[in-house]
Symmetry: C2
Subunit: 417 residues, 2 copies
């Protein structure tokens, strides 16, 4: 066993289960007597030498982290530039690693983070410092290549499918004399994975969601309104699930198409209210809309057990990979069987993952562009299976944990980022 | 035991647990060998003689109704006019009751429904038909008088508190380099009960929600922005929970203050996006917002056990009241002890409930107008206690039931409403 420490950092939008990955990293490191540090607020904390000593947390607290949403150490939206454009940042990171004897860097994020981890592994070699970098997958968007699915996605998919099934029962009750159309906006700016997962809520032709709007399919106002009208005539009501990333015929995001609000300011995005207004004005139907935003990706209370297990597995695998001397890889989920659903973690090279994006395949969308196919169901269904509720206190609230996040003493001068 | 049938109807916005009340009515009626009919879509179905024979549903289906959200028979937004303005409708209802030997009418709704039930009990007497009417409480708004709380409220309160606790962990993770302010809009057009329940998510001064906006407190833009700024400076981020019913200084709902959207139409309401834009433009902070709408009141998956039990109890009590020959009453929840929390159902006269509204007491709001007091916590806390998750299928989705809703053969001519 080599000497040295491990540094773990979280990046990008957090998920309901990213902390399960963090817990796995810490627990696996402890089992192998490796000191695990974490960077405060992702790579930003690494640059600023704001490191956290996870050995100060109790075993019980780390265990509780498994079922706590959000990012325990803070995350960031900060993409390092290319080495050519900002070599100083990469050198600073190596300097921080050297100062704290960090030999392994685990970066938990999406394709940007995979890129950062890859570059760091390369520049370490150039600068004569042996740092091994492992990317750890995480994104509700499910858009990483090389992996069957992304930890974080299964839980938001479950939240979405459950919410649609529930609100559909509500709308069905109200439709005779009140709300006939319900529009729910979900995340997924470039890929329609979350929108597609809503399709799991129903199985029959009359079941919600009746219309799914994917970012991969250009929004056709006439066709959309016709389908809403036809659904209301046939079923009595209509549930629409729209991705935040749908675009108007001019290729502009509907959510950014320029609205003004009560205060006379430009309105912040919202595809759902725009679609709701359209339905109300053109079809004269009563409409309600919902936009769960962060609620969908932080809803640990309705997490998928499959997802929580996969999030834990990639954290554990990442530490095992460094122990095996691996570098510039990411533990990804490989599906080995659909029925029964089976999967395992395998290493995939970061240079095949970085900066790529997996869109929803055309074969997952029905010909009319408004629903999901049997192929999509086969893929999506296992990912929302199983419940993994957090423990609840006597007060009726989930018992989530907050880390102490004890700072590691700094050894280097300040660094402006 | 008198002969005759019982008619049950649901009214107004449905809740996560109104069907638990329906299940209790059906199960209790069966135990006492009473035939229970239900009206399709509330009072509208009663007027149209669209009745459902609940005896056609299996015991297992009725049992599953206990954990199914929405309204099993359909609800309605339809308020009967006064007897003076539309005597024909009341007479029609009595005619329908007479034709089907309905001797007991159970109307499950809010204060409007209490009013309808009360009037029906009066006109029956005038027309020489003995009909006994029981109001059964239901409303997420928690605004009925005479009852300690309203079935339906505890579950939306739990959904709200849990969601705020979860999304707060998300925002806290992102705040360093991304979202610093999160605004969540909740239901409650005239009373701030749901907004207040968000306060249960946190206990310490730094905990979310940092700002609650109640419909009872006029919205002061300057004071609000100052508090957001102060919270971000102190905590690093800020979570705002706003009632849909907050009004601008001119007394106009913020959600109706006139916005236009991407299609150039008047924008459908939304306090959250309006507040989010305000924060972004005046404070230059990155902001996210959520508007769960029907998701909050249909979220049976995170229902309060206390609430589900109370919803069942009022349905059971309502049938027991008719068996005792009672009339023009409502089974309400009486709190007999705060700690340990104890409650029982007691009858309250409909004429003291109809058309009244219970606002949040001033003593429940902190002096600054942005939070809840210890008195509010003492009242609210027991209502969200306990979990009552629905069963889940192997597909990872809650197993909700849909009734056959077998129609009772009509005996009367059509009636235009």
């Amino acid at each position: 066993m080599e000497s040295g420490k491990l540094l773990y950092a979280q990046s990008g939008g957090v998920t309901a289960v990213i902390n399960a990955t963090a817990a796995a990293v810490i627990e696996t490191a402890r089992r192998h007597k490796i000191t695990a540090y974490a960077a405060r607020n992702g790579i930003v904390g690494a640059l600023r030498e704001e490191l956290i000593d996870t050995t100060k947390e109790s075993a019980a607290t780390v265990r509780a982290l498994r079922h706590t949403p959000g990012g325990a150490f803070g995350s960031c939206r900060y993409k390092l530039k290319s080495i050519d454009d900002n070599r100083a940042q990469y050198e600073r990171l190596i300097e921080v690693f050297r100062a704290h004897e960090i030999r392994w860097f685990l970066y938990n994020g999406g394709n940007d983070s995979a890129d950062t981890a890859l570059k760091l592994s390369q520049i370490g070699k150039t600068l004569g410092y042996d740092i091994r970098c492992i990317g750890v997958p995480k994104t509700v968007d499910n858009d990483l290549v090389m992996t069957d699915c992304c930890p974080g996605f299964g839980s938001v998919a479950k939240y979405t499918a459950v919410s649609v099934r529930e609100c559909a029962l509500d709308v069905a009750s109200m439709a005779q004399s009140s709300t006939k159309v319900f529009v729910m906006e979900v995340m997924g700016r470039h890929a329609g994975w979350i929108a597609a997962s809503a399709g799991l809520a129903g199985t029959g032709r009359g079941d919600a969601p009746h219309i799914i709007l994917f970012p991969e399919i250009p929004f056709d106002e006439t066709k959309f309104l016709e389908r809403v009208r036809e659904t209301v005539d046939r079923v009595g009501w209509c549930v629409v699930v729209a991705s935040e990333g749908i675009k108007n015929p001019e290729g502009k995001f509907l959510s950014e198409a320029g609205t003004t609000d009560a205060f006379g300011h430009a309105q912040l995005g919202g595809v759902a209210p725009a679609l709701a207004s359209l339905v109300r004005d053109k079809l004269k139907l009563k409409v309600h809309w919902a936009l769960p935003d962060y609620l969908q990706r932080s809803a640990r209370h309705i997490a998928s057990k499959t997802d929580a297990e996969q999030a834990f597995a990639v954290g554990k695998a990442a530490v095992e990979y460094v122990l095996k001397g691996m570098n510039a890889v990411m533990p990804v989920i490989m599906r080995t069987s659909d029925s029964p659903y089976r999967w395992k973690t395998v290493p995939a090279p970061l240079d095949q993952i970085a900066n790529r994006e997996k869109k929803l395949p055309g074969s997952f969308v029905t010909k009319d562009g408004f629903g999901i196919t049997a192929a999509a169901r086969k893929y999506l269904s296992p990912l929302i299976r199983g419940e993994a509720p957090p423990p609840y206190g006597k007060d009726g609230l989930p018992e989530y944990v907050v880390f102490k996040n004890t700072a590691v003493r700094k050894k280097l001068p300040e660094f402006d980022i």
